[in-house]
Symmetry: D2
Subunit: 205 residues, 4 copies
């Protein structure tokens, strides 16, 4: 078993939040999980900026797998996204003040691109360890979806051996106990643990 | 302004339900809305059977627009779907006992196909009349999504002038007051009225 | 059958809202429902002020029944309250800037007082007409609960023949289509109709 | 600081569930928390039987504090109940087949009785440790509320120095990953930890 590289990204905080659980979880991950050597990267919450930073990182470290994380406040479990769709549509500005309305991410790109990671196997690896996790059929139309779309488009068009996927994480306890008591959430260490089980389950294709 | 034809479909009841609000609403619609002459069709809740019935009806009446409706129990408003994705995945059997797991709908079809109806304009026409309505980014992976995928695939590959879309309707009051008091719902006549505003908003392309 | 009087109250708008569906519904009610002659009253959203206005109105018109209404944004149906509890506790100021923390409403009052209206019969009268309605076991600890507590305390201590109750109504469609698309709601005329069925069901004791 | 005794109860499983997180959490608690020596007791899910077992245990061990726990599936955090109300009302049978409809728990008991534990202080002790917890204003009308009502009635009428309260716990991860993926939940050890912080916060009155 040879060592492979996985690039794991999370986002900087956005909106009124002071932390983003997606990158908080990434920071806690060890440097190696099973056969996977981890590279970690924090992405800006900007439709354009996130893509720029992501592309450069992929170019520099040419990972075997690209796993991006984002916050999905209000979801009650960790969710693995099935698909990215070719649309940017938001009522909330990104961190750079941009509010796109029904714009394509890549003008001549396909309408949707499925993740080419083994998402059900990854999910099962998490739920087998009794951490709530399910597959989601929409990553929304905000920056998270944009990042996944770019990642999958790169797999299809520039790095044919690369695989990519996206994981949405719920609010963490610190966020709930301060301002969001009506929302479900998870403990940060549970999210981190789930990510480890997930990454372990990515086979060496 | 010439008359155009719109084929409007709803589903038969499924699971434990005795009615399906999608076809109940279709039945209440008038025969003509603005420039649109309506044809109505009830679809079976079967992954294969729904497609078969739909294709035959399209072949026979060659509509300008194909608008399919389904029930989305638990949603609190009428929702217009943005995209269909090339997957059948369910834990619940269809009315023919089939439980597909991560199967493609059309082997060599694209991962996703956007609705080519003016979904935001249709939504606005409904909310302008103070009926709750929004755009949804997932039609799920059950029979509803399968029907929309087939409809959009037909537009792309066989009937280039045709447009298609899907509307999910919530539970109706009759369902709530009998067994589902914890769920949100709408009055059937409000759903019917919303459909009229929506269809009015489809422009004559 | 002699005529009896019912005093029906609703609240003025509060927080960021421009209307309060509770008083909007009251305004739409007819002057007589079955044996009940209606008096209508709008209450201020103030812990003290609401009680003052309510007491004066009861003193002036000595109703047989006192039915108070308030908004419960987020609930998906009309709810009839079972009990008021002797506590004021809020993180949100009332319209007079008051934010009480765990204060008694009436120093030596009982911890809780049940509504002495036939709440299940009233509920059934609404659901029999296919409008979603259920009994709630908490009116919260904000102004709504305070008003109900005062009303029931008056029944127990000053007006022995009087009966009182409280109905929480959800957001109405106008509120949802403007700013609250994630919430469930009802059409104002459905709420009004439900109130009529409810009031009809209050027997002549 | 002298040692005081706290009797902590949880319920046996009910309905389709194979475990009840309330007693699972009780089992994990240590024998002593701060000044409090713990006695543990599993209660049957029966309107009458729970009261009988509870009363006998209180008679035998005369605790200083009685803290009862139950499952509130669907809540997203640990909740501390403020009040018990004098009503049994259910559509679901208890484990002995009883389905009470609007019956009083104690014929001449008061409508409601507030918990006499320092519920806000207990809540703060939990949230200060970043575990989601809030005060609830209804324990429902099923067996949980009945047990709390009996406990508080005993404090008022038979054991004047005793204090009592009720804590509702959400589903635990094991329940979610097997059958309830749409619900929020918590890790059992987080619930246990929260109970420790809560019990620590009960002052020596």
């Amino acid at each position: 078993m040879s060592t492979k590289m996985i690039l794991v990204t999370g986002f900087e905080p956005f909106g009124e939040e002071k932390i983003n659980p997606s990158y908080e979880a990434v920071k806690l991950l060890p440097g190696q999980i099973g056969q996977w050597k981890l590279k970690k990267l924090e992405l800006p919450v900007g439709f354009k900026e996130s893509a720029k930073v992501l592309k450069k990182a992929v170019e520099v470290c040419t990972p075997d797998v690209l796993l991006c994380l984002g916050q999905a406040g209000g979801r009650n479990a960790i969710t693995i996204e099935r698909i990215a769709i070719n649309i940017k549509d938001s009522r909330m500005a990104d961190n750079f003040g941009i509010i796109p309305e029904d714009e394509k991410i890549i003008i001549d790109g396909p309408d949707g691109i499925f993740s080419n990671l083994p998402i059900k196997k990854m999910m099962k690896s998490v739920t087998d360890h009794n951490i709530p996790c399910f597959v989601s059929n929409t990553a929304g139309t905000y920056v998270c979806n944009t990042v996944l779309y770019h990642a999958l488009y790169l797999c299809q068009n520039k790095y044919p051996g690369m695989r990519a996927g996206f994981v949405h994480v719920p609010f963490i306890y610190e966020q709930l106990t301060q301002t969001k008591s009506n929302y479900p959430g998870m403990r940060l260490t549970d999210i981190m643990e789930a990510l480890e089980y997930m990454i372990e389950a990515i086979d060496d294709e």
